[in-house]
Amino acid sequence: MRDFALVRPASLADAAAAFSGGGEAAYLAGGHTLIPAMKSRLRMPDALVDLSGLGLSGITRDGNRLWIGAMTRHADVATGATAIPGLAALASGIGDAQVRNRGTLGGSVANNDPAADYPAACLALDALIETDRGSHTADDFFQGMFTTALADGEIITRIGFSIPARSAYAKFRHPASRYAVVGVYVADHGGQWRVAVTGAGPGVFRWAEAEAAIAAGGALPAMPADDLNSDIHAGPDYRAHLCGVMLKQALACLA
């Protein structure tokens, strides 16, 4: 890992200022994506701006939204997001215990790995992603592989999830990394259904046909394999099939 400066700001304004203080900077949350990238020299920031001193962690309920601070660890979501059991269960299935004790909601969402779990929850739970500059709806936020609506230096502060009547997440784990080969999050917002799929495609997406079918009580659709990912672990047709299986599993969890 190359030498870098570590900055520990105490306010959002200081953090943003440190970020634009010259040279390449990166925000440091749990470090479970960033640090490995630095070790393998894929990223070589001059400065790391640590977000842990900004009071960005914690879980609060405000009406029909569950607000979770960007710096909240996966392990704390797993135990603390009791208002949305599907979300808590999702968090408890991320990586392993070490990853869950370090990795954060904000880091995962900002990173938008196409195989990450949280982006599916954000889409299906119609989340608001709040930042130091404003807020984004989940539908607008995720823009494909590792790409989001965040501007350079914009900091996610907290994420507000709509509390659904029922929701569940089913994930087919990658045999090596245990990220999602396919993950499907299903949420019933009082008859309005949202279904989000991660892992299968180049980025998280909503599965409109499934939403309509569930709402109408019709037969569940098959996922077309056309634009799905293919790698040594799963071809597109297998991924497409798994979307259907995970959808069924998630629906079964709701019952």
Partner: protein, 753 residues
């Protein structure tokens, strides 16, 4: 007690290892120490046009950059079994005019910090002219394939054959039934928990000191000094501290081991190199990597008439230290296992590819042979309508038929194979399977059951081992043994053997290893040989020290002396002398070295064998399997420490299971490594292991060594690969599947017409 202690004594090394007191190579630091890093080829096959190191030398902290020109005076890493004859495949410490696999070393950068060394490596400008690569066996043996070694006739460097081809051809021609399979054994990475590291030091008087995690310092020193560094052996000291897993891979010399020594001599400072996980995936020798065509001829009743196997063994880009021997001398003669097979032919082609060199990996050839036979015999049973237990029972050698020469140069000495099979069926609740299968089917799952009867040759290579004892004035006994624990628990097991022989408490004993300055001879650890050979050496050394002590005590006490329970007792009086008393009266006089040799100094392999039975549950909707039951009965001869044995079994099963369903080194057609990290290369986790491993032994002591042990380090892996795959094939109603049996493959097969 005649045979060791037989107690599950807790490991004496655990307190140290579990409290962070272990000492691994990378833990070592020296004042003024420099750090080395290797710049590796990004191409699978390329000519090096030029290397410009000038920018690297400008990087702050960089002290030196070495390329092939600097190390051309050293010998290449030797292949000790060059079956290719006249065609040599020398692996120089750094590539000369050509690189032959992704990861081949091109330059070695030494700097004041690890980071500076890395930055230096990045600043080196290498101009490559890419050459067409052959990244698989099929590509390598295709007509007109580009040649990796131009002086060779083709990429197939040698043919090795044992057995009786004529008799096999005849039997195949007239057999009532012939089962044929094409079998692939996937390439795997050893993935030791501790990655390789090396610390090089040089002193004008004492010469070189290399600290590295090896599987035996003495054998490594022999090749490193004479062949590579070209200095007398006594100018090289090798030290091995704790080792976090080797599995065969750490037996070998890697370029960095000589490069740190070269740099230390040139720069007058200690130089340390520590590999990263990506270095490990790219450059630790890989295992297995072979394809076979196999045929089993049977008569109408299912009795085996002949076995024919032809294998293409992927050697990687260079013939590694033992690489060519793995499917041939090491594993090729055990083909067919302990079945009654009148005619066997085993033909092996050694093929080079533009990939990481392949060498010994837990079992080293024996799992591969067992896997082929155990796949074949279950396929045959299915084809002719016999039970997989019945066909084995029919064909296993009985005790009355032993000793039995297998026609490939091995003679099975002892064992009761049918009894082991029967017992394994009981332990596995063989009879209860149909009910479990029906219950699984009711849940939409397909239950399959697979068996494997394996036999191993253990301790096959050498004929001797050494132990060297020192008795301190306080009576503490320190014994060096010429083998090397990589985590197995040798300190405990040898301590038990010695304590039992001497009648002293284990606490009075310390077992040491891994320093050529303490003991410059020893065969190291590999091929499940340590307890058979090292144990023999410990006993010999104990007997010799008792003899020395008796002579000293008789002189001191003036008369005949008997030894027992740690005391030399005068026969005519109550006078006694303890080890402490004798050692303080006669400093050094009790010390000495003993050499244990097999009878007539001939190789005396042991034949651990056993029966594994696995049950797997397949979810046809996803292709996911779970190993729901696992039972095995082994014949390991005498057990010195049953708990250590069981630990070896669990670890062995994990590695066999890993290879069977998960682990896979994948190169693309251009020879790029697609599975270079744990993000893509899966290894088994605790939750993928069977919920319980039911393990028993039914032992017949080996007559080849004084302890009667047979060796157990590789056995778990050998049985697990075929038993798990056979169970999966059973769950697929006989559809053949190759390793790794991944969910995607199984989903396709489960849903194929």
């Amino acid at each position: 007690m005649k045979f060791g202690t037989g107690q599950s004594t807790p490991r004496v090394e655990d307190a140290r290892l579990l409290t962070g007191q272990g000492r691994y190579t990378d833990d070592m630091a020296r004042p003024g120490m420099l750090y080395g890093t290797t710049l590796r080829s990004p191409h699978a096959h390329a000519a090096i046009s030029s290397i410009d190191i000038s920018a690297a030398l400008e990087v702050p902290g960089v002290v030196a950059v070495y390329t092939h020109a600097d190390i051309a005076g050293y010998g290449p890493i030797p292949c000790l079994v060059p079956l290719s004859g006249e065609v040599k495949t020398p692996r120089t410490l750094l590539a000369g005019d050509r690189v032959r696999f992704v990861g081949d070393g091109v330059a070695f950068v030494v700097a004041e910090t690890r980071e500076a060394a890395r930055a230096g490596a990045e600043a080196i400008w290498v101009e490559y002219e890419e050459l067409p690569a052959v990244a698989s066996i099929a590509a390598a043996i295709a007509p007109d394939a580009p040649k990796i070694w131009p002086q060779a006739a083709s990429n197939s460097l040698f043919d090795w054959q044992v057995g009786n081809p004529d008799a096999v051809a005849e039997a195949l021609a007239k057999a009532a039934h012939v089962t044929r399979l094409r079998i692939i054994q996937n390439r795997v990475a050893p993935t030791s928990m501790e990655v390789r590291a090396a610390l090089g030091e040089f002193d004008a008087e004492a010469g070189f000191t290399l600290t590295t995690g090896s599987q035996g310092v003495a054998s490594m020193r022999r090749e490193l000094s004479k062949v590579i560094l070209k200095v007398p052996e006594d100018q090289v000291r090798i030290i091995t501290h704790d080792v976090g897993g080797g599995f065969g891979m750490k037996s070998f010399i890697y370029p960095e081991y000589a490069l740190v020594l070269h740099a230390a001599r040139q720069l007058g400072k200690p130089v340390k190199w520590t590999g990263e996980r990506s270095d490990a995936f790219q450059t630790d020798t890989h295992g297995r990597a072979m394809e076979s065509e196999a045929a089993l001829a049977l008569d109408a009743e299912g009795r085996i008439l002949a076995l024919k196997v032809e294998t293409w063994s992927d050697l990687g880009a260079y013939q590694a230290q033992f690489g060519p021997a793995i499917q041939t001398m090491a594993g090729g003669r055990i083909m067919g296992g302990v079945y009654r097979i009148p005619a066997i032919q085993n033909l092996v082609h050694g093929v080079v590819t533009n990939t990481t060199p392949v060498d010994a990996y837990r079992g080293a050839g024996r799992p591969e042979s067992a896997y082929i036979m155990e796949r074949l015999i279950e396929a045959a049973a299915r084809e002719i309508g016999l039970g997989v237990d019945e066909i084995r029972a029919k064909n296993l050698l009985t005790p009355a038929e032993l000793p039995h020469a297998n026609g490939l140069g091995l003679t099975f000495d002892i064992g009761n194979f049918p009894a082991v099979l029967e017992r394994a069926k009981q332990v596995a609740d063989w009879a209860g399977f149909p009910a479990r299968k029906a219950a699984a089917a009711a849940r939409g799952k397909r239950l399959g059951r697979g068996m494997a009867y394996y036999v191993e040759i253990a301790g096959g290579g050498g004929t001797e081992e050494h132990a060297d004892v020192k008795v301190a004035a306080d009576g503490r006994i320190e014994m060096a043994v010429g083998t090397q624990s990589n985590g197995q628990g040798h300190e405990t097991a040898y301590g038990q053997v010695l304590a039992a022989r001497l009648g002293v408490p284990l606490e009075q004993i310390r077992i040491v290893q891994g320093d050529t300055a303490r003991m410059e001879v020893g065969g190291g650890t590999g091929g499940s040989r340590s307890m058979a050979f090292g144990g023999g050496a410990v006993l010999q050394c104990a007997d010799d020290m008792i003899a020395r002590g008796t002579a000293l005590a008789e002189a001191d006490l003036g008369g005949d002396v008997d030894y027992g329970d740690g005391l030399f007792k005068a026969r005519g009086s109550n006078a006694t002398l303890s080890w402490a008393e004798l050692a303080s009266r006669h400093p050094g006089a009790l010390d000495g070295r003993s050499r244990y040799t097999t009878k007539e100094s001939k190789p005396a392999p042991t034949f651990p064998n056993g029966c594994h039975i696995a049950e797997v549950e397949l979810d046809p909707d996803t292709g996911v399997i779970a190993v729901t039951r696992y039972a095995l009965v082994d014949d390991f001869g005498v057990l010195v420490n049953p708990m250590l044995v069981e630990g070896q079994i669990h670890g062995g099963i994990a590695q066999g299971l890993g290879q069977a369903v998960l682990e896979n080194i994948v190169y693309d057609d251009a020879g790029q490594l697609l599975t270079g990290s744990f993000m893509d290369y899966g290894i088994p986790r605790a939750d993928q292991m069977p919920p319980a491993v039911t393990f028993e032994t039914l032992n017949t002591p080996s007559p080849t060594n004084p302890l009667g042990v047979k060796g157990c380090g590789e056995a778990g892996t050998i049985g697990a690969m075929p038993s798990v795959i056979n169970a999966i094939i059973d769950a697929l109603d006989g559809k053949q599947v190759e390793m790794p049996a991944t969910p995607e493959k199984l989903w396709r097969l489960a849903n194929a017409a």
